[in-house]
């Protein structure tokens, strides 16, 4: 991928990532978030975070399937935007929903599987965001790669967090879970090497 193709994609990512927040802010401003605005805002922020987190896994899959190594450059902005929304989601929970009532928050988290897995996922995402500083990526080398594989663990926890949010099974978190499973399958060493082999033999075949 050359610079000419990369630039519009980067633009779509940077503009696209702000649209949900802008829309949410506008809806809140207009009072269109319904009878439970804080709950709706918190849930939407979480949903955007999970969507971006899944999107941040797409470049790696594209590299494996299509051999497009340049796609990898979009991982970082997508991942950081995912963390950004996750942070807003946590801030909404702590600040708007619980109004910083720490005692109540602690009870809520300790008594709740749903909040515990969410918190664990957020902790992982924070480590990933902090280790995304450009200089660190090179300095950490193989360790960086190992650390960042835990994004799949974080995403799994977030999917659980979303599934557990409802009394019954809802379509959206299950759909996100299915997408995650597909993205994860592509990454599995036997699958990814098989995909690479196919791609190479495809390229060698005379046309």
């Amino acid at each position: 991928m050359d610079r000419k193709t990369a630039r519009p994609i980067a633009l779509v990512i940077h503009v696209g990532a702000w649209i949900p927040l802008a829309t949410l802010a506008w809806m809140a401003w207009q009072g269109h978030l319904g009878p439970v605005p804080v709950a709706v805002a918190t849930r939407l922020l979480g949903r955007y975070a999970l969507t971006l987190l899944l999107l941040s896994l797409v470049p790696t899959a594209v590299r494996i399937i299509f051999g497009l190594h340049a796609a990898v450059r979009f991982r970082r902005p997508l991942g950081l935007y995912a963390f950004f929304y996750a942070m807003l989601h946590v801030l909404a929970f702590v600040g708007l929903d619980y109004r910083l009532a720490l005692d109540l928050i602690i009870v809520a988290v300790l008594q709740s599987r749903r909040e515990l897995v969410g918190l664990a996922a957020f902790a992982i995402l924070m480590v990933l965001a902090l280790t995304s500083i450009p200089g660190l990526v090179k300095r950490l080398g193989k360790t960086w790669k190992r650390i960042h594989l835990s994004v799949y663990l974080a995403a799994s926890l977030v999917v659980l967090h979303a599934i557990w949010n409802y009394k019954e099974l809802r379509a959206w978190p299950l759909f996100a879970g299915a997408a995650l499973i597909l993205l994860l399958i592509v990454r599995l060493p036997p699958v990814s090497s098989q995909l690479r082999r196919w791609r190479r033999s495809e390229a060698k075949r005379p046309s």
Partner: protein, 318 residues
């Protein structure tokens, strides 16, 4: 009965105009019933149904303010944020989908272990002396509303059908009409929706068959034309749009027990110390205020109902 101390009216109520104050007083008369559960249905305590005209934003009568706190949940939230899976899983879309719900004619078939099995029409249900009761409704999803219901104690209806001595439980059923209820296509629950109570719970004076709220007939999304309200239990026990009531010897299996036996029990008493397996029940979001409050044991009705569960392990019997 709690004594009413005018000095306890909080300053934020001062802005109320005279009419609101008067309707507030009407609601106060109704709510005084709550404090007087020992002699609940004395004629002097029963306000006439037509006189109640509680309006949204009315302050909670002082006699009940300690228990219910703050204000009534605005009507637009009570009628705009509903769990009624027969229509949709979306709480904010029930009202629209249920708009044309046909509630007349309507029949409630009461039978099973009773001496006088009866089919009640809408008029028969309206013939029971209606009163206004202000209850907090606590949903298992950790939110609550304060709602002025109109209705009559379930015990009044049960007394007319005369349960036999063998009857130990009451089973309720919601209408399941696929032509009117698009949510029935979903299989999240086994339809029709079923709920149940022990007979002593059903006969408790707090247990209401509601026919209205805010002084008017129930909106469809709130369970028209007649629904159960059991204020010390999670909201899903307060079954809507009832078509069948059956007295039985065995404990009925409710729809939620069937869907998630580890998560939803028969009793479903509000209890901040027994979390849902996936989330805490320690606090609740107060709809319409943007605030949270600590959840109370039996939703604050401990004094009236704790004796029903004496010696029972509330964690085991969730």
């Amino acid at each position: 009965m709690k004594k009413i101390d005018p000095g306890r009216i909080t300053p934020e109520h001062i802005y109320l105009n005279r009419r609101q104050l008067i309707t507030g007083m009407g609601a106060l008369a109704a709510a005084s019933l709550l404090g007087a559960c020992a002699s609940p249905r004395g004629p002097e305590a029963t306000p006439s149904a037509g006189a109640t005209s509680t309006s949204p934003g009315t302050p909670i009568p002082t006699g009940e303010s300690e228990r219910l706190g703050g204000r009534l949940t605005p009507l637009e939230d009570v009628a705009g944020y509903n769990n009624f899976y027969e229509f949709t899983l979306s709480k904010t879309k029930v009202a629209e989908l249920a708009e044309d719900f046909e509630t007349s004619p309507w029949q409630v078939e009461v039978g099973g272990m009773v001496r006088n099995p009866t089919v009640f029409g809408l008029q028969d249900i309206g013939a029971f002396e209606q009163e206004e009761r202000i209850y907090r409704m606590r949903c298992v999803e950790a939110w609550s509303m304060v709602i002025p219901w109109r209705g009559f104690p379930l015990s009044a209806l049960l007394e007319t059908v005369e349960p036999t001595a063998e009857a130990k439980f009451v089973r309720f059923e919601t209408l399941a009409d696929p032509t009117q209820m698009p949510g029935l296509k979903s299989n999240v629950l086994d339809w029709p929706y079923v709920e149940g109570l022990r007979v002593d719970e059903a006969m408790h004076d707090l247990t209401l068959l509601a026919t209205g709220l805010y002084g008017k007939d129930l909106p469809p999304q709130n369970g028209a034309p007649v629904r159960l309200v059991v204020p010390w239990k999670y909201g899903f026990k307060s079954i809507k749009s009832i078509v069948k009531i059956e007295l039985m010897a065995e404990m009925p299996v409710s729809s939620w027990m069937e869907a998630g036996p580890n998560e939803y029990g028969f009793y479903a008493n509000v209890n901040p110390d027994v979390p849902h397996p996936r989330w805490s029940q320690a606090t609740e979001r107060v709809i319409g205020t943007g605030e949270r409050r600590k959840t109370e044991l039996f939703n604050g009705y401990q004094e009236e109902v704790a004796h029903l569960y004496e010696g029972m392990d509330l964690e085991e019997n969730f």
